[in-house]
C-alpha cells in the first residue's frame, strides 16, 4: 500500500533519541532551515510558506502563510508568536509526540516564524498536564540558548529571539486563540469578541501569530526543501504536505501515523492493524470530539480538509476515533456532551445552557429515561446554539449530537422506546481481568 511507504517528515526523529540533543538534531539537518531563512527576506519566507499551501493543523485549517501575512510590518511595536500546545481535543495526542520526541524541530519552526513576522518573543502555551513534554522542551530551549540559536543574536544574525514555555492549568477553551491569549495574560480563558483578530490585537495588545505545534513543525521542512516539494505531497493544491493522524478506540494498534495528507480512512485503519479483535466497523469520528460522526459506508473517504467538509464533518485535529458494532452511539455522544458541558467557559448563554441541556437529554436517553419528544428537543437546542456564541465551542458541541440524530436516529428511538440501552456493557481488557 502506498501509504505505508511514506517517508516520515515530522516524525522522522521519533525512533531516534539522539535528536533530543542539539548535536543529534543538527546531524539530521536540524537548524539548516533556520539558517537558510535568516538569509532570506522575511517576506520571502512568508511567501514560501503561503505558496506551500500549509494549512493550520490545530483544527481550523486556515492558511499558515496567510495568517503570517496579516501581521503588520515595521518594527515599532512588539509582536508575538504564541505556539498552541494546549492539545486538549479529545482523541488528539500528536503534538505531545512531536514535543517529547523532537523538541528542536518545534523550536526551529517557531524561530523561522518569528523571523518571518519579525516577532522577538515566542510563548509556547502547553497544557498543564503535559509536564513531561514541558520538561523536554525546557531542556531543548536551554540548550538552544547556550548554542546561540536563541537569545540576543540568533545564529549570529543579530536577530533577537526569546522562547518561553508557559504552562496552562486545565481548560479546553484555552486552545481557542483568544481564550489562549486571555489565559496567557493571566486571566480566565474566556474568548474575546472578534474582530479585532489576534494578528492586529493579540497578546498584550500587540500583533500575534497563533499556530499549532504540528503547523510550526512543518515550517523548517518547507524552508529547507521548498514549497514545490511540499505541494507535491497530498491530495490536491488545497490539501498539501505530510499529516499526523492520531487513531484510537477500537483498533489493534492505536497510535500516531504520519502519511501524506488525504489518506483514505480505510487505509489508515489498515496501518493501525485493522479493527480491534476483528470487530466490525460501525462509525468513526475523523477530527476530534467536535467533528460529526461518519459511518462505515464512508470509510473510503480521504482524510483531508475538503473531503471531510464535503461529507459534513471536518478534519479538525485529525484525531480519528474508531467504534465497532458493540458501541452504543448514544452513550458515546453523551460522553462527548458531558465534556463540552464541563468545558464551556460560561460566557455566552446559548453555549452555557445549551451544552448543559445536551448532556442532560443524552444521559437520560442512555439511562432509559428518554421521552418521546427528546430527539426534537435535542434538535431545537442544537439550532439555538448554532452561530449564537462568541467562539466555536458551541458549534463543536453540536457536531457529534447533530450527526447522532441524523445518522443513528433509529438507535436513539430504540433507547426511548425500550426504556433501556440495548447494548451490553462490554469488557475490553486484554487479560480478561475485571
Amino acid at each position: 500500500m502506498a501509504a505505508a511507504a511514506f517517508e516520515p517528515v515530522l516524525t522522522r526523529n521519533v525512533g531516534n533519541p539522539a535528536a533530543l540533543t542539539l548535536d543529534g538534531y543538527r546531524k539530521g539537518g536540524g537548524y539548516e532551515g533556520l539558517a537558510k531563512a535568516l538569509k532570506m527576506e522575511p517576506d520571502a519566507v512568508i511567501d514560501e510558506v503561503k505558496r506551500s499551501g500549509l494549512r493550520g493543523r490545530g483544527g481550523a485549517g486556515f492558511s499558515a502563510g496567510m495568517k503570517w501575512s496579516f501581521i503588520p510590518k515595521g518594527k515599532g511595536k512588539p509582536k508575538y508568536l504564541v505556539c498552541n500546545a494546549d492539545e486538549s481535543e479529545p482523541g488528539t495526542f500528536k503534538d505531545r509526540l512531536l514535543m517529547e520526541k523532537d523538541p528542536h524541530q518545534l523550536i526551529e519552526g517557531c524561530a523561522i516564524c518569528c523571523w518571518a513576522v519579525q516577532a522577538s518573543t515566542t510563548y509556547i502555551y502547553i497544557r498543564g498536564e503535559y509536564t513531561y513534554a514541558n520538561g523536554v522542551m525546557e531542556q531543548a530551549i536551554k540548550d538552544a540558548y547556550q548554542a546561540g540559536i536563541l537569545g540576543d543574536s540568533v545564529l549570529g544574525s543579530g536577530f533577537k529571539l526569546d522562547v518561553y514555555m508557559h504552562q496552562g492549568a486545565g481548560a479546553y477553551i484555552c486552545g481557542e486563540e483568544t481564550g489562549m491569549i486571555e489565559s496567557l495574560e493571566g486571566k480566565r480563558g474566556q474568548p474575546r469578541v472578534k474582530p479585532p483578530f489576534p494578528a492586529v490585537v493579540g497578546a498584550f495588545g500587540a500583533p500575534t501569530v497563533i499556530n499549532n505545534v504540528e503547523t510550526l513543525a512543518n515550517v523548517p521542512h518547507i524552508v529547507t526543501r521548498g514549497a514545490d516539494w511540499f505541494k507535491s505531497i497530498g491530495t490536491d493544491e488545497r490539501n498539501t504536505g505530510p499529516k499526523l493522524y492520531a487513531i484510537s478506540g477500537h483498533v489493534e494498534r492505536p497510535g500516531t501515523y504520519e502519511t501524506a495528507i488525504g489518506i483514505p480512512f480505510s487505509a489508515l485503519l489498515d496501518l493501525a492493524g485493522g479493527m480491534y479483535r476483528g470487530g466490525t466497523l460501525k462509525a468513526y469520528i475523523p477530527g476530534g470530539a467536535s467533528a460529526a460522526i461518519l459511518t462505515a459506508d464512508q470509510a473510503h473517504l480521504a482524510l483531508d480538509f475538503d473531503t471531510m467538509a464535503k461529507a459534513g464533518s471536518m478534519l479538525g485535529s485529525a484525531a480519528v476515533m474508531v467504534m465497532d458494532d458493540s458501541t452504543c452511539m448514544v452513550r458515546s455522544v453523551a460522553r462527548l456532551a458531558k465534556f463540552f458541558n464541563h468545558e464551556s467557559c460560561g460566557q455566552c448563554t446559548p453555549c452555557r445552557e445549551g451544552t448543559n441541556w445536551l448532556e442532560l437529554l443524552l444521559t437520560r436517553i442512555e439511562h432509559g429515561e428518554g421521552r418521546p419528544d427528546d430527539p426534537q428537543l435535542l434538535r431545537s437546542v442544537c439550532k439555538n446554539m448554532n452561530g449564537t456564541a462568541l467562539c466555536a465551542l458551541a458549534e463543536a458541541a453540536i457536531g457529534p449530537v447533530d450527526s447522532l440524530i441524523k445518522r443513528f436516529s433509529e438507535e436513539v428511538d430504540q433507547h426511548i422506546r425500550d426504556r433501556a440501552c440495548p447494548f451490553p456493557h462490554r469488557r475490553h481488557f486484554s487479560n480478561g481481568a475485571s
Partner: protein, 187 residues
C-alpha cells in the same frame, strides 16, 4: 509509535508533586508566605512577560506546590500580594481551571481519563477499580491523607487507553488488576 512506558517527569518548572519546603509559617503551623526559593522563581517569571499579571497562572502552580497540592486562602492571599492583584481576581482565575484546587487533595492526586477513547477501551472499570481500592468517593481524600481521585477529560494519551495520571506520571494500557498494583505501590 507510542511510548509504552509511563512517562516520568524530569524536573518540570511546574510540577504537581506536593512538596513541603521550609518557609515562613504561623505559630499554628499554617504557611503564610512563599519560601525564599519559590520567591526567587517568581522573580524569574516576572521577567518573561510585559505585565506582572501574566505570571499569575505560573505563580499559582508554584503556590500549589508550596502549599501541599492545593490553594488555601493563605496561598491565594500570598499570590495576590506577589502578583499585585486583588484577591478576588485571583479567586476568579483559580475557579476557572481544573488543575487549580480550592479544596484539600491527597498527597497523591489521581486523574482517570474517562473521555471517549478511554471509555471505548474500558475506563469505567478503571474508575471502579480506583473507587473500590481507595474506598472513598471522587474528590474525597483517603483517611490517611494519601490519595484523592477525580475522573478527568482527555489527557492526550488515547493510544495507550485506558490510562490515568498520578501526580506527574502517566500510567498507560491499564487493567483493573494493574490499577490495584499501582495504587498499592504508592508511598
Amino acid at each position: 509509535m507510542s511510548d509504552p512506558a509511563a512517562s516520568p517527569s524530569p524536573s518540570p518548572a511546574v510540577s504537581d508533586a506536593a512538596a513541603a519546603p521550609a518557609g515562613s509559617t504561623e505559630p499554628g503551623g499554617e504557611r503564610r508566605e512563599f519560601s525564599a526559593a519559590a520567591r526567587a522563581q517568581l522573580q524569574e517569571l516576572f521577567k518573561r512577560y510585559p505585565t506582572r499579571e501574566a505570571a499569575l497562572i505560573p505563580a499559582l502552580h508554584i503556590a500549589q506546590r508550596e502549599w501541599g497540592g492545593w490553594l488555601p486562602d493563605a496561598a491565594i492571599a500570598a499570590v495576590a500580594r506577589e502578583v499585585e492583584l486583588p484577591a478576588a481576581k485571583v479567586y476568579g482565575v483559580v475557579t476557572f481551571y481544573d488543575l487549580l484546587h480550592q479544596h484539600q487533595v491527597g498527597r497523591h492526586r489521581i486523574r482517570i481519563c474517562t473521555n471517549l477513547p478511554c471509555m471505548l477501551r474500558g475506563s469505567d472499570e478503571i474508575m471502579a477499580a480506583v473507587r473500590q481500592h481507595l474506598g472513598v468517593g471522587e474528590n474525597e481524600v483517603t483517611p490517611d491523607g494519601r490519595c484523592s481521585y477525580v475522573h478527568f477529560e482527555c489527557l492526550g494519551s488515547c493510544d495507550t487507553a485506558p490510562m490515568m495520571m498520578i501526580d506527574d506520571t502517566y500510567h498507560e494500557n491499564l487493567t483493573p488488576e494493574r490499577v490495584r498494583q499501582i495504587l498499592g505501590d504508592l508511598d
